[in-house]
C-alpha cells in the first residue's frame, strides 16, 4: 500500500505540532521517522494510523482518503511503544485477539485461528511461549508478541512507535535484525518512529528527519548522513565541531584557506560543521598532512579520553574547544601529550549559513560556553596514560 501525506497540520493548544507535512511512502518501503522528542514524529504516526485527527490536510492510502475508509479496508497495524499487551490474556490469546473479535460471518473457526497464531509465533520466534502471560516475558519477547498480534489482521501497513525505545542496548541490536527480516519476509509497507539516529540509519530504506513539526530532509541513510541539508540534521546525527568562516562569492574562507560551498548559501557569515573523526591531527609545523584535508592551524592538546579502540582528543583551537576522534594507535604514533601543540586539518566540512546554524542548533554559541567547567575538572585529573 502506498501512503501519501498532504499538507498535514496539527495544533495542540497554541503550538503547531505538525506544520504542513508532505510525505510519500512507497509500496513495501521501510521508512524511518527520526527526530528529537517534540518534533511531531509520533503525532504524525498516530494520525496516519487513525488514532488521532489532523486539523488540516489529508492522509491517502493508494489514492483514497484514509478517514473515509472503515477498519476492514484500511487495516493499519500499530505497535505501541510499551506494546499494550493484554495482561490478563496469554500470549496465544493476545495474538488471537484480532481474529476473535471479527464479526460472526468473517470470523475464522477455532482451528484456523490456532494455526494462524502458531504460524505467526514461529515467525517471531516465540513458538514455545503460547501459554505464558505478558508479565512472564522479557521486554524483547513482549515486543515480538505485539508484532505477531498486529500481523493477525493482515495489515497492509505496519506502524511502529519507538519499537526499541523500552529495551536495553543488546536486545535492541538483535531485534533490529529480526524486524528487518520480518519486513523482508512480509513485504509490508512499514513506518517506524525513533529518536535514535543509529537505529534509523541502520534499518530504514529512507529516513525522514523531523524537527519542530516539519520534515527537514528525506533521503536514504547515506544521503542524509553524507549530505545533511540543514545544520540541525548534521548536529542531530552526531557530534559536531564548528568553525566560523566567511562566505564570499560561492567560497567559504576559513582562516586563510578556501573551501567550496553549496550554491544556495548566501554570502555573509557562515559556519563549517566537521565530524570529530574528520579532524586530522598531525605533528606541529607539518605543512600539508594528507591530500584531502584542509589545513586549519595549530591547536593545543587539552584532554584525551581513550575508550577502547577509539581515542577522543579535546583540543584548544583559537580559544575554543574542538573534539577529534581517531584510533588509539594513531594517537600513540603522534607521541603527543597534554599541553603539546599539534596541527589540525579538516576533512569533509559542511558549510551552512551562520544564522541558520545558530537558530537551529545553538552552535557556535554553545561551544564557547564550555571551557570554564572543563578547565576546573581537568585541573583535578592527572594525565591519562594511553
Amino acid at each position: 500500500m502506498r501512503i501519501e501525506v498532504k499538507d498535514l497540520t496539527k495544533r495542540f493548544e497554541h503550538t503547531l505540532v505538525l506544520d504542513r507535512i508532505n510525505l510519500e511512502i512507497r509500496q513495501k518501503e521501510f521508512l524511518g521517522l527520526l527526530g528529537p522528542s517534540g518534533s511531531g514524529k509520533t503525532t504524525l504516526l498516530r494520525i496516519i494510523a487513525g488514532l488521532e485527527f489532523a486539523d488540516g490536510g489529508v492522509v491517502e492510502a493508494d489514492g483514497r482518503d484514509v478517514s473515509t475508509l472503515g477498519f476492514e479496508e484500511r487495516k493499519f497495524g500499530f505497535v505501541f511503544q510499551h506494546y499494550a499487551l493484554f495482561n490478563h490474556m496469554t500470549v496465544f490469546e493476545n495474538v488471537a485477539f484480532g481474529m476473535k473479535v471479527r464479526p460472526r460471518g468473517a470470523r475464522p473457526d477455532k482451528q484456523a485461528i490456532a494455526d494462524r497464531v502458531k504460524e505467526l509465533l514461529e515467525l517471531v520466534q516465540l513458538g514455545e511461549f503460547e501459554d505464558r502471560f505478558p508479565a512472564q516475558l522479557s521486554g524483547g519477547q513482549r515486543q515480538r508478541v505485539a508484532l505477531a498480534r498486529t500481523l493477525t489482521i493482515d495489515p497492509q501497513v505496519l506502524l511502529l512507535d519507538e519499537p526499541f525505545g523500552a529495551l536495553d542496548a543488546k536486545v535492541r541490536v538483535e531485534l533490529r535484525r529480526s524486524l528487518r527480516d520480518i519486513h523482508d519476509a512480509t513485504g509490508l509497507t512499514t513506518i517506524f518512529v525513533t529518536h535514535d539516529q543509529e537505529e534509523a540509519l541502520d534499518l530504514a530504506d529512507r529516513v525522514a528527519i523531523m524537527n519542530h513539526g516539519i520534515i527537514e530532509q528525506i533521503g536514504t541513510p547515506n544521503e542524509i548522513y553524507e549530505s545533511p541539508k540543514t545544520p540541525f540534521i548534521f548536529d542531530f546525527l552526531g557530534r559536531t565541531n564548528s568553525f566560523e568562516c566567511v562566505i564570499e562569492h560561492g567560497k567559504a574562507r576559513l582562516g586563510d584557506k578556501e573551501l567550496p560551498v553549496e550554491a544556495d548559501i548566501p554570502d555573509g557569515r557562515g559556519v563549517a560543521f566537521v565530524r570529530p573523526h574528520a579532524i586530522v591531527l598531525s605533528p606541529p609545523n607539518d605543512p600539508e598532512p594528507t591530500q584531502d584535508a584542509r589545513l586549519l592551524g595549530t591547536a593545543i592538546l587539552r584532554f584525551i579520553s581513550a575508550r577502547g579502540q577509539r581515542a577522543v582528543a579535546e583540543l584548544l583551537y583559537e580559544r575554543r574547544l574542538i573534539e577529534a576522534e581517531t584510533t588509539r594507535e594513531s594517537l600513540k604514533e603522534l607521541g603527543l601529550s597534554i599541553g603539546d601543540k599539534c596541527t589540525v586539518s579538516l576533512r569533509l566540512p559542511r558549510i551552512y549559513a551562520r544564522r541558520e546554524a545558530e537558530r537551529q542548533t545553538g552552535i557556535p554559541e554553545r561551544a564557547a560556553a564550555r571551557p570554564p567547567f572543563r578547565k576546573r575538572l581537568r585541573s583535578r585529573l592527572s594525565a591519562t596514560p594511553y
Binding site: F78, F86, N87, H88, F97, V101, R102, G139
Partner: protein, 296 residues
C-alpha cells in the same frame, strides 16, 4: 591538601563511639506502641466485644429468637434487597462515569468529578432530606405522586433511592484513578485490532480493572447495608415494611430491647468483618501484582 579519612579511634571516649540515632530509644518505642495499642483497644476492640457480649447476654436461645422475629427477617430482607439493587446500578454508573472521565478530554470534567464526589461530602441526613423535599407529601412532586397513588417516601422505593444517593460515588471513586493510570493505550490497541467498542469494554477494559472494581463493589455494598442517616429520614420507621437492619436496631434500642438490638447488630458486625477480610485479600493481591510487574 591533606586527606583526613574518618576512622574509629579506640582512644576516643565512649560518647564518640555511640551508634547513629536511626530509631527511637527502646523506651520511647515501647511507650508509643503501648499508647497506640491502648488507644485502639479502647476505641476499636471494646465496642466490638460489647456488641457480641450484649447480644448474648440473655443467652443463645434469646439470640436466635430475636433474629428469627418476623420483623427482624423483614429488615434483613429489605437490607439485602436494597444492596442487591443499589450495588449493580452504582457499578454501571461508576463504569460509565469512569469511562467518560478517563478516556476523553472535554470541558467541565472537573465539575463532573466534583458532582460525582458530592454525595460523599454531604451529611447523610441531607441525602435523605433532599428526597423528602422532592417526593414527600409537601414536596415538589408530592401532590402528583399522591394523586397517582405512588408512594416513595415512607415506602421501600424511598429507602432504595436514598441509599442510591449516598453510595453513588464509591465505585466511580475507585475506578477513576485506576483507569486514569492505565490510560487509553489498551483500548486503542484493541480498536486497532478490529474490536468494536463493546468488545473492547468487556474483553480489555473490564478485565484490566477487575480488582479495583471488586474493591469498589465491596465498599459500595458495605455502605449500602449500613446506611442509617439518609434512610432514617425517608423511611418513616414503619417496622416490618420500611425498616432496614440499622433502623430496626434503632427501633429495638429505643424500646429498651437491648439484647435483641445487639443481636441484629451482631449480624451487621459479622458482615463488616467479612468486608474487611475481603478488602485485605484484595489489597494483598494488588500488592503482589504490583511487585511482580516491577520485576520486569
Amino acid at each position: 591538601m591533606v586527606d583526613h579519612a574518618p576512622s574509629f579511634d579506640a582512644s576516643l571516649p565512649q560518647a564518640a563511639r555511640r551508634p547513629l540515632p536511626l530509631t527511637e530509644s527502646a523506651g520511647a518505642r515501647t511507650a508509643l506502641i503501648t499508647v497506640a495499642l491502648g488507644f485502639l483497644l479502647l476505641f476499636l476492640l471494646l465496642p466490638l466485644i460489647v456488641v457480641f457480649a450484649e447480644a448474648l447476654r440473655l443467652g443463645l436461645g434469646s439470640y436466635w429468637a430475636a433474629i428469627g422475629e418476623p420483623e427482624a427477617l423483614a429488615a434483613i430482607r429489605l437490607t439485602l434487597l436494597t444492596a442487591l439493587i443499589v450495588v449493580p446500578l452504582n457499578a454501571i454508573f461508576g463504569i460509565a462515569a469512569a469511562w467518560a472521565i478517563t478516556k476523553f478530554q472535554f470541558a467541565g470534567k472537573n465539575l463532573l468529578i466534583t458532582l460525582v464526589d458530592l454525595p460523599f461530602s454531604v451529611s447523610p441526613v441531607i441525602g435523605g432530606m433532599v428526597f423528602v423535599l422532592l417526593f414527600g407529601l409537601q414536596g415538589v412532586l408530592g401532590p402528583w405522586l399522591a394523586a397517582h397513588d405512588i408512594h416513595i417516601i415512607f415506602a421501600i422505593p424511598g429507602v432504595i433511592i436514598a441509599t442510591l444517593f449516598v453510595t453513588l460515588p464509591f465505585v466511580a471513586r475507585e475506578l477513576i484513578p485506576l483507569m486514569q493510570k492505565q490510560g487509553t493505550e489498551y483500548e486503542e490497541a484493541a480498536l486497532m485490532l478490529g474490536a468494536s467498542g463493546w468488545q473492547t469494554l468487556f474483553r480489555v477494559t473490564l478485565p484490566n480493572i477487575r480488582w479495583g472494581l471488586l474493591y469498589g463493589l465491596l465498599l459500595c455494598n458495605g455502605r449500602a447495608i449500613g446506611e442509617f442517616g439518609a434512610v432514617a429520614v425517608v423511611s418513616g420507621h414503619i417496622v416490618g415494611l420500611t425498616t432496614t437492619m440499622p433502623l430496626y436496631i434503632e427501633v429495638l434500642y429505643n424500646d429498651f430491647n437491648f439484647a435483641a438490638a445487639f443481636a441484629v447488630a451482631s449480624l451487621l458486625t459479622l458482615m463488616a468483618f467479612a468486608t474487611l477480610i475481603l478488602r485485605a485479600i484484595l489489597e494483598w493481591r494488588a500488592a503482589r501484582l504490583l511487585a511482580r510487574s516491577r520485576l520486569h
